[in-house]
């Protein structure tokens, strides 16, 4: 009896197991069908670091009316020809049939596998062909910048040619630059030095170059008036350039004998050590004019407030928007952003240099038009993809 009972139970259990596994596996097989036709292709016109993967959606991705999806998405796996070990690299949503894999190396061949996923279950893997990213001759993702660069170059050349022909160019008055000569004159009258700070960045920063360009003009004025000039520097490469600029300016002004190498001096290699050194100069030498032109960071207010406390006339200029409020609060005149770059052209009054300022204005008009069109198109939903592609895709 017992034996019979036990064999019945065992038989029932075996039948149950058979149905359970049959049902489970057939569910996996039936419910999640894999994507098909997986193709890996090189992305054309790029720097050889990306491949584009495409596939046909799993038949379980959507039903006839696209009312209901049976999968969560697709898992993408990648292997190289050398190691052949598939590693998951991304997961994309359902109804997505492509993926761009970036950060690849152009000397390696890659193979991909894609499988559909529903909760913890996966479909079978569908493999792609082997593909290798290729470096092309031009980066299509930068074509927008290329077009803008060409337009900009053309407009600069056009306005320079106009200036050469003697066409008058109107440039608005920039108060801060008009005040430079006044500040140096004040220092001369008071018999005190002029302090010039060309920012705290190395010479590879364009703001430092702009600052040094203005230094040349300031040095010419101080040379003419025999006013002492102090230029403390944070980076040694800017030191060499600064010394050369001031020397040339004194030479141009016909006062080479008044040039001293220590007018431009290296005072520190650290940001706050530099602040301490310049603060000391401000308090000891009491310059009548402090001119800050270049890239500034946390030290901007420390320097400008120390200068303010000594009663010096202060002119500042930077393209770092976060430091502008500090300079505006502590200085008599502040050059904002583009005014810093325009300073050398403005002070020299050379038509060739002024021509490039007009080209800058033209570019600004073009960009403003694009901004307005972009805002309208995105607000109304017309052609927004075009603008996204133009400005956001890289």
């Amino acid at each position: 009896m017992n034996l019979l009972f036990n064999s019945k139970i065992v038989g029932f259990f075996l039948v149950f197991l058979f149905f359970f596994f049959t049902k489970t596996f057939s569910q996996n097989d039936k419910i999640i069908s894999p994507p098909s036709n997986v193709v890996a292709k090189d992305v054309l016109w790029d720097d050889g670091k990306a491949l584009k993967l495409s596939w046909d959606l799993s038949s379980d991705d959507k039903d006839a009316e696209r009312m209901h999806t049976h999968i969560d998405g697709y898992q993408i796996l990648r292997a190289t020809k050398n190691d052949s070990v598939l590693k998951p690299i991304a997961f994309v949503d359902d109804n997505v049939d492509e993926y761009k894999d970036t950060g690849l190396i152009d000397t390696i061949e890659y193979i991909y596998a894609v499988r559909a996923k529903k909760k913890d279950f996966f479909s079978n893997l569908s493999f792609s062909n082997y593909a290798k990213p290729e470096v092309n001759w031009f980066r299509a993702d930068r074509v927008n910048m290329f077009v803008l660069l060409i337009v900009f170059c053309m407009s600069v050349i056009f306005y320079i040619q106009s200036a050469k022909k003697g066409k008058p160019l109107f440039i608005r008055k920039i108060g801060g630059l008009e005040a430079v000569e006044e500040a140096v004159g004040r220092a001369t009258e008071m018999g005190k030095p002029v302090l010039f700070i060309p920012g705290i960045q190395e010479i590879d920063e364009i703001q430092t170059i702009a600052g040094l360009s203005i230094l040349g003009k300031v040095a010419k004025i101080t040379a003419t008036y025999d006013t002492p000039l102090i230029v403390p520097i944070l980076y040694p490469m800017a030191l060499a350039a600064g010394q050369e600029i001031v020397r040339e300016s004194y030479l141009d002004a016909g006062k080479p004998e008044n040039y001293k190498k220590d007018m431009v001096k290296y005072v520190a290699g650290e940001q706050f050590a530099y602040v301490a050194a310049v603060g000391g100069i401000m308090l000891r030498e009491k310059p009548a004019a402090n001119i800050f032109m270049g890239a500034f960071y946390a030290e901007s207010l420390l320097l400008a407030e120390t200068g303010q406390s000594t009663g010096a006339i202060q002119i500042a200029g930077t393209a770092n928007p976060h430091q502008l409020p500090f300079f505006i609060a502590s200085c008599d005149y502040t050059l904002m952003g583009e005014e810093l770059y325009a300073a050398s052209a403005y002070l020299s009054k050379e038509p060739l240099l002024l021509g490039s300022l007009k080209a800058q204005d033209l570019m600004k008009i073009i960009l403003v038009i694009f901004i307005i069109l972009g805002a309208i198109s995105i607000t109304l939903g017309w052609g927004e993809k075009f603008f996204y592609k133009l400005f956001l895709e890289r």
Binding site: G48, V135, W137, F138, R142, M145, C153, V156, E202, I206, Q207, I209, L212, S213, G216, Y235, P236, M237, L239, A240, A241, E244, V246, E248, S249, D262, K265, Y266, G269, A273, A276, G280, R284, A298, L301, L302, A304, E305, A319, P321, P325, I328, A329, S330, M336, G337, E338, E339, L340, Y341, A342, S344, S348, E350, L352, L353, S356, Q360, M363, K364
Partner: protein, 206 residues
Amino acid sequence: MRRQFPAFIAFLAGFVMVFAFFVPKKGIVDFSQRLLTWVIIVGGFTLLLGIVNITRANLDAIKNKEKGWGYKVILLFFLFVMAVSAIIWGTQENTPYDYLFHNIQKPMMSTMFSILAFFIASAAYRAFRARTKEATLLLITSVVVMMGRTPLGLFIWKKLPPLTDWIMAYPNMAVQRGILIGAALGAAAMSLRILLGIERTYMGKG
């Protein structure tokens, strides 16, 4: 020749960088990277120039017993102590350089930075004095923003924090972007002037 040659080098170096930005071919990109490495090497050599300059200028001041010459003695002493300790024992943890850096240099730099808090107060006082219509507007806006960033602001009026966020995200951001676009165009125009050799004021010419 003395004027043209540096301008030609500037043009060539700039052109290579622009070209490499658009043309990603290996040889061109490698060359542009090599140029950047050269900048670092030149920077290393000019550091020596900086040390010579700082030593000479301070020695002269000590010799002439200029005002505050004692500080210059300390500066030169620590300049060489730091350099020598780094050369002999390295810059890793538990070396004399590391000790000097963490116990002297770092606290001094932190002190300088912390003075900023006092300067912000004095500058804010000057900036926010309601002397003109614009200054009054600035004062009101800054009070709203400052209050909106504190729990007290939320306690006074629950819509202050969202109002602050709106001010920062729209009017403030719009102005900042305007300045940034202008600055970017200015930088591009200046770079182009340098590339074309029109702007030579950075070389002391013009």
